[in-house]
């Protein structure tokens, strides 16, 4: 048995590597020399074990394309005016087609030239002379639509990442899923409602003028002058957080958006001890804000976020310096979240929650406790059974069996995989499979012994014959595990991972580790009879 030494070395190596990978999960504070050269990844617990929130969002990317078309409508109007091309209307029709109506057909050549030069992303989609003049349709090419949608999804992902980072969640997992979905996992989130509000907010900030014409009567009847709409005014009690919104009439025209905000943070009003959000604009934004405030002195300027008015102060004087503040009635948390979304920027398109799963920390810790208890009891019974049934050989098998658990956990840490509750079930199952393998081998050895073979020959044939069967029977389980991994999400994927690792670990311990002990005993222990 010359190669016995090498096999023993292999096992020692694997065990040592396992210990090295496991240590970070067991000892919380490792010395710096360790973290520098040795693995420092700990076993990640899934949301079902540590509590937290799982979200799948859908980016309504088509809206982003529509918004882009809306912006181009405004740009085209400006260009037409500059080029002195007379037009009666420019508007977005259908999803993202742009229809331009010229006063007469003579200017169609100029229009075509202008569109080709300044708006190359828009493709002509038919034109005809009508009673009112001349109508031309333009639309985005399919490639351009795809590009814009992808851009919107990417940007939404980035914005949400920024928001979550600033919200302060440890180890969040945010990644794109499919074409227009975003998967978000937030371990340990205490207040799921607040987290959802923060993440899902479009955060489109607009500055609009409060309508002075609308009297309180009109406001009741709902008969509003043209270009005026009612908006909800955010009003929550700073102490209790109770919302009691009221209505306020605003002019439709948006004077400015939050695009040019470079920074936003919460400050406390010393006088009233109330939180407010201060904003800083970039150079372009500062100029724009200065002009708007100068033009509208003594008027009420509403600060609108996603269609809700947060504050509507009266402009006292022209504001220069690129700073503004949103004072209103909100709680500290609301003010902080408002600052986060303003800093992180708006989402390019609204998002919709497709799936939301929340697990409380208490259920998570219960699951860990119960999972461990079940594993422990199952383990003890199995270990005892093996010793009773196979005596010393069973004892050897138990050693290999117990080696499985640290090996599986070490692999989890090494592959940065996540341990979930079904994952714990997967570990239990793979320990069961390790027993299977040992049973296969031992039953075979017993058979060979009954045929009158020597212990050494019986062990050799037993392992040889059983190995192929073990490989076969595990392979089909492996197929199931791999398919599950490909398909699975969250907890189920955790199951597939531990099952896969467990299959390999159990084959390693049953076929290689147990065999080395047997060979050692038969070679150096001068064992004449097998206790099996």
């Amino acid at each position: 048995m010359k190669n016995l030494k090498y096999r023993a070395l292999l096992i020692a190596g694997v065990v040592l590597a396992g210990i090295v990978y496991l240590i970070p999960s067991i000892i919380p504070n490792l010395p710096p020399w360790w973290t520098k050269i040795l693995p420092k990844d700990r076993i990640h617990l899934g949301l079902d074990l540590q509590g937290g929130m799982h979200l799948i969002l859908e980016v309504e990317a088509e809206k982003a394309v529509q918004n882009q078309a809306e912006r181009m409508v405004e740009d085209i109007k400006d260009s037409l005016r500059q080029q002195r091309i007379p037009f009666t209307r420019v508007e977005r029709v259908n999803k993202w087609d742009i229809q331009i109506q010229l006063a007469n057909a003579e200017a169609q050549g100029d229009l075509a030239k202008l569109m080709e030069k300044d708006y190359p992303t828009l493709k002509p989609a038919g034109a005809q002379a009508t009673a009112e003049g001349f109508t031309a349709d333009f639309t985005f090419s399919e490639a351009q639509v795809q590009h814009l949608m992808k851009l919107a999804t990417d940007q939404a992902l980035e914005t949400i990442r920024n928001r979550v980072d600033q919200f302060g969640v440890t180890e969040p997992d945010i990644r794109p899923q499919g074409e227009d979905r975003i998967l978000i996992q937030l371990p340990g989130v205490q207040d799921p409602q607040r987290a959802v509000a923060l993440i899902g907010k479009t955060a489109l900030l607009e500055f609009k003028l409060v309508s002075e014409e609308a009297s309180s009567d009109q406001f009741k009847d709902g008969k509003l002058p043209a270009g005026v709409k009612m908006y909800a005014m955010h009003n929550s009690d700073p102490a209790s957080g109770q919302r009691s919104d009221r209505q306020i009439p605003l002019r439709d025209r948006t004077l400015m958006t939050g695009e040019n905000i470079t920074n936003a943070h919460v400050s406390i009003d010393k006088q009233y001890n109330k939180p407010y959000v201060s904003l800083e604009f970039d150079a372009q934004g500062a100029r724009q804000f200065e002009r708007i405030s100068g033009e509208n002195v003594k008027k009420q300027l509403a600060i609108v976020l996603d269609g809700t008015v947060y504050s509507a102060p009266v402009i006292q004087e022209r504001i220069s310096g690129g700073k503004a503040s949103i004072t209103g009635t909100f709680t500290m948390d609301e003010a902080r979240d408002l600052a986060i979304v303003l800093r992180a920027g708006a989402l390019p398109a609204p998002v919709k929650i497709l799936e939301q799963r929340t697990v409380g920390a208490s259920l998570g810790s219960d699951s860990i406790r119960q999972g461990l208890l079940a594993s422990l009891l199952g383990g003890i019974v199995t270990v005892l059974f093996m010793v009773v049934y196979y005596r010393i050989s069973g004892f050897i098998a138990d050693f290999a069996l117990l080696l499985n658990i640290p090996l599986i956990l070490a692999c989890l840490a090494a592959f940065e995989a996540t341990l979930t509750l079904p994952g714990i079930a997967g570990i239990i199952l793979s320990v069961g499979m390790a027993v299977d393998a040992n049973v296969l081998i031992f039953e075979r050895i017993r058979e060979e012994l009954r045929l009158g073979k020597t212990p050494r020959a019986a062990v050799e044939t037993g392992f040889e014959r059983a190995t192929l069967t073990i490989l076969d029977s595990n392979f089909t389980t492996l197929i199931a595990a791999v398919v599950l991994f490909q398909f699975g999400t969250g907890p189920v994927r955790g199951f597939a991972v531990t099952l896969t690792i467990g299959i390999f670990a159990s084959m390693f311990t049953a076929i290689i580790a147990t065999r080395v002990i047997f060979d050692y005993l038969l070679t150096y222990g001068r064992v004449k009879t097998l206790s099996i």
Binding site: L354, G360, T382, V388, E443, T476, T477, I479
Partner: protein, 355 residues
């Protein structure tokens, strides 16, 4: 120690027709119940909807909970106690899953706190799955079953018969067949049934009795597990799907052990009738079959009893699967070989030759 004596000789194959009858009864029965109930009882993962798990400090009843939810218009929800009676834990399930109800769990928590008192009811888990995701998961689940069956079928037809060339032919025919079925626009469920039929048909045409028997045994195990769930009206969730796929892989374990033994005996060319030889092989491997099934069963039993509410049904499905898997490898899989042999001797050359 020995539970099963090594010279045991039970006439298992003699019971084959009773076993077939029992299995047929179980499968046809569960299919009938499934049809009667209008399909499986799908969990929120697949059907969409909202599931909220609540722990109460004091004992309560579903009717009391229902009363508290009346203001939310949720008194039609299914309310079910889970775990031990002393835990006071309930699951509330509704079909609501639209985005305006995104914070449903908070509102349910608030409504219950109002009725039962602050801190008396805690939301421990809330799962909201939109209809779109539910449909996606349903589709994905069916494809997962499909691919698992496909790969396992290919593997066993290649491995059992040691005819990888034949297996390659199978892969080819399978691909074309599935492609055609897909092109016709069949649903994923029809695709699975189609693939199973193609597999079985190919096994028959290509004379692969072992693969045929193993595939049938596998389908048998999965169908009976599904049947038990249908009869007990338990919910189908992602975890149950995982359990079913694992059963599909695992049920072959024992079958492979017995089949390996049968082929080993065949190779020795003993002067023994085919039927007797199969019975000897089953008996020779019986100890292993029972032990391997038994140890896994024990581990799962503890998971079932002590693993907590979340993993309860998963452990249950696995338990059923292991039991039927062990049963089928003794009473169904190997006797099916005899059935094939009987048919084959009528129409074709006998299968008896070392593989």
């Amino acid at each position: 120690m020995e539970i099963i004596r090594s010279d045991i000789n039970i006439n298992f194959v003699g019971m084959r027709f009773k076993a077939f009858l029992l299995s047929m009864f179980l499968i046809v029965g569960s299919l009938a119940v499934m049809v009667a109930q209008g399909g499986l009882n799908l969990g929120v993962d697949f059907a969409g909807g909202t599931l909220i798990q609540i722990k109460f400090e004091k004992a309560t009843t579903p009717d009391e909970i229902r009363g508290a939810l009346k203001d939310l218009g949720m008194d039609q929800s299914a309310i079910q106690r889970i775990g031990a009676a002393a835990d006071n834990e309930y699951i509330i399930r509704t079909d609501v899953s639209s985005e305006e109800m995104a914070n449903l769990s908070d509102r349910v928590g608030a409504a219950l706190s109002k009725k039962f008192g602050e801190g008396q009811a805690t939301v421990r888990r809330a799962e909201m799955v939109g209809p779109k995701v539910g449909q996606d998961l349903r589709q994905k689940a069916l494809f997962a079953i499909f691919y698992a069956l496909l790969f396992i079928a290919i593997y066993i037809s290649g491995r059992f018969e040691m005819k990888w060339g034949t297996a390659a032919i199978m892969v080819g025919v399978m691909m074309v067949g599935v492609y055609l079925l897909e092109a016709v626009g069949l649903s994923a469920l029809a695709l699975i049934v189609g693939a199973i039929l193609i597999t079985l048909g190919l096994c028959w045409i290509l004379k692969l009795p072992y693969a045929l028997a193993a595939t049938l045994a596998l389908i048998h195990d999965v169908l009976i597990t599904v049947g038990v769930f249908v009869v007990l009206d338990k919910e189908f969730t992602l975890e149950i799907l995982a359990a079913l796929l694992t059963i599909a892989g695992y049920s072959l374990n024992d079958t492979i052990v017995v089949f390996d033994r049968i082929r080993e005996t065949l190779r020795k060319e003993r002067k023994q009738p085919f039927i007797e030889m199969i019975n000897t092989s089953i008996n020779q491997t019986l100890s292993r079959t029972i032990l391997t099934g038994g140890t896994t069963l024990f581990a799962l039993l503890f998971l079932f009893l002590f693993g907590g509410t979340v993993i309860h049904d998963f452990a249950f499905a696995m338990l059923i699967g292991i039991i039927t898997g062990t049963y089928s490898s003794i009473f169904i899989a190997s006797p099916l070989l005899i059935l094939y042999q009987d048919w084959a001797t009528v129409k074709r050359k006998p299968v008896r030759k070392p593989a």
